[in-house]
């Protein structure tokens, strides 16, 4: 009896000190049936990718409020490639200026979710993308 679950890593890189948003997302994804690994504050790209590898997640969700997304995302992507995690979906949540959203997508981010995004939409996006991939 195979029993597959979508596994998601929610990580909070950077130095900004609160993670309420990340926790809300983590709980919402749990409530839609996913197994969510939550790693806490101040994660470096190295820590995030290592955790994603060990936990064998389908999705990495980065919650970034610090404005450092243009520096963090390429580094995470680079490490993912080095570890053979190119098939892992990368999502970014947080306050990201419109111009940067396009750039993040060029870097390989699957989707960017602003602060007002209904959590259902995030769960739906993950489910449809993971299941078709």
């Amino acid at each position: 009896m195979a029993d597959e679950k979508i596994r998601v890593l929610i990580a909070k890189p950077g130095l900004d000190g609160h993670d309420r948003g990340a926790k809300v997302i983590a709980r919402a994804l749990r409530d839609s049936g996913m197994e969510v690994i939550y790693t806490g504050l101040r994660q470096t790209p190295e820590m995030i990718v290592e955790a994603a590898l060990q936990e064998d997640v389908h999705v990495i969700g980065l919650s970034i409020l610090s404005g450092a997304h243009l520096a963090l995302v390429p580094r995470v992507k680079e490490l993912m490639a080095a570890e053979g995690l190119d098939d892992v979906l990368l999502l970014v949540g947080g306050i990201i200026p419109d111009d940067d959203i396009a750039r993040l997508k060029e870097m390989g981010v699957s989707s960017v979710f602003g602060p007002g995004t209904p959590t259902d939409a995030i769960a739906q996006h993950i489910k449809s993308t993971v299941q078709s991939g």
Partner: protein, 303 residues
């Protein structure tokens, strides 16, 4: 994500490749058809790791302690695999697995591998597949495999059956000390740890635990009905293997890494005791038997 062949993953695990390890664990958790074959192939490579179970009520500091214990073991050059089990939500089937939050000190160390598991509806503190996941880590060559469980109270016998050494963690300030550790969970302890020894009330907790240990002091036997407590007068005619292990009560401050060396020493002493007394051999026999029964039951129910 499912593109790797089973054989490639098995080879990868035996070669110590972390990505293969992670992916094979997923298949074991998902009970994919090839997982059973992989486990069979890995079986001859298991049995080397020291399996340590860590349980106790929520908030006693288990994750923090696992983190500190792993660091202590790393300083002694042992490699460490960690399996942290948390409950699955009965409503959604999902879970938030947060044990890594307190283990970030271990990040970046190639001698450590951490895996979070949801119990996926299993009643005990473990998931049905935790034993198999531990076996994969064992085959992967880790010297120690630490399993941290939801300290629910009942059904913690699961972990005692699986682990070589079971550590039960308590802490002061959780309310009624006697309630904090239920009698059933005390029975499975090979080592008792009072964590948060920096907090007031630590002596009360230690005293309460000692009293309970003495109260429940019976001869432990490794007889036919598992690893259980049998009153001395009843044990006369079933030729039990006596276990004269004295359960130590150790104090730690996990947040400051105090007292952890004594815990590591106690684990080593307990393992030695199990070997010398013949209990290890008996436990291994029981474990194989219990697993066989569990597998058969599953085959019959779901096969």
């Amino acid at each position: 994500m499912t593109s790797d062949t089973t054989q490639a993953l098995i080879d990868g695990v035996l070669a110590g490749q972390r990505r293969s390890l992670a992916r094979l664990i997923t298949r074991v958790e998902n009970r994919t058809p090839d997982a059973a074959d992989a486990l069979a192939a890995l079986y001859p490579h298991t049995g080397r790791a020291n399996l340590v179970g860590i349980t106790g009520a929520p908030g006693t500091g288990k994750s923090t302690r696992v983190n500190a214990l792993a660091q202590t073991l790393r300083r002694q050059d042992h490699t460490v695999g960690i399996v942290a089990v948390d409950p699955t939500s009965p409503f959604s089937g999902g879970a938030v697995l947060g044990d890594r939050i307190r283990m970030s000190d271990l990040s970046g160390d190639p001698g450590v591998f951490i895996r979070s598991m949801a119990n996926r509806g299993s009643l005990g503190g473990l998931a049905a597949t935790t034993g198999d996941v531990v076996r994969v880590l064992d085959a992967g060559g880790f010297d120690y495999v630490l399993v941290e469980t939801v300290g629910a109270g009942q059904s913690e016998v699961d972990i005692a059956r699986m682990a070589t050494t079971t550590i039960v963690v308590d802490a002061p300030g959780l309310g009624d000390d006697v309630q904090a550790i239920k009698a059933g969970i005390l029975e499975i302890a090979d080592i008792l740890v009072v964590n948060k020894a920096d907090r007031p009330g630590v002596q009360n907790t230690v005293r309460a635990l000692r009293a309970m240990l003495e109260l429940g002091h019976r001869l432990r036997t490794a007889g036919h009905h598992g690893y259980q407590l049998v009153p001395p007068d009843e044990s006369a005619d079933n030729e039990p293997v006596y276990d004269f292990w004295q359960v130590p009560i150790l104090q730690t401050v996990a947040t400051e890494h105090t007292g952890l060396d004594a815990v590591v020493d106690a684990i080593a002493q307990h393992r030695e005791h199990l070997h010398e007394s013949g209990i290890m051999a008996e436990r291994t026999r029981q474990r194989v038997e219990a697993e066989l029964v569990a597998r058969l039951r599953e085959e019959l129910l779901f096969g």
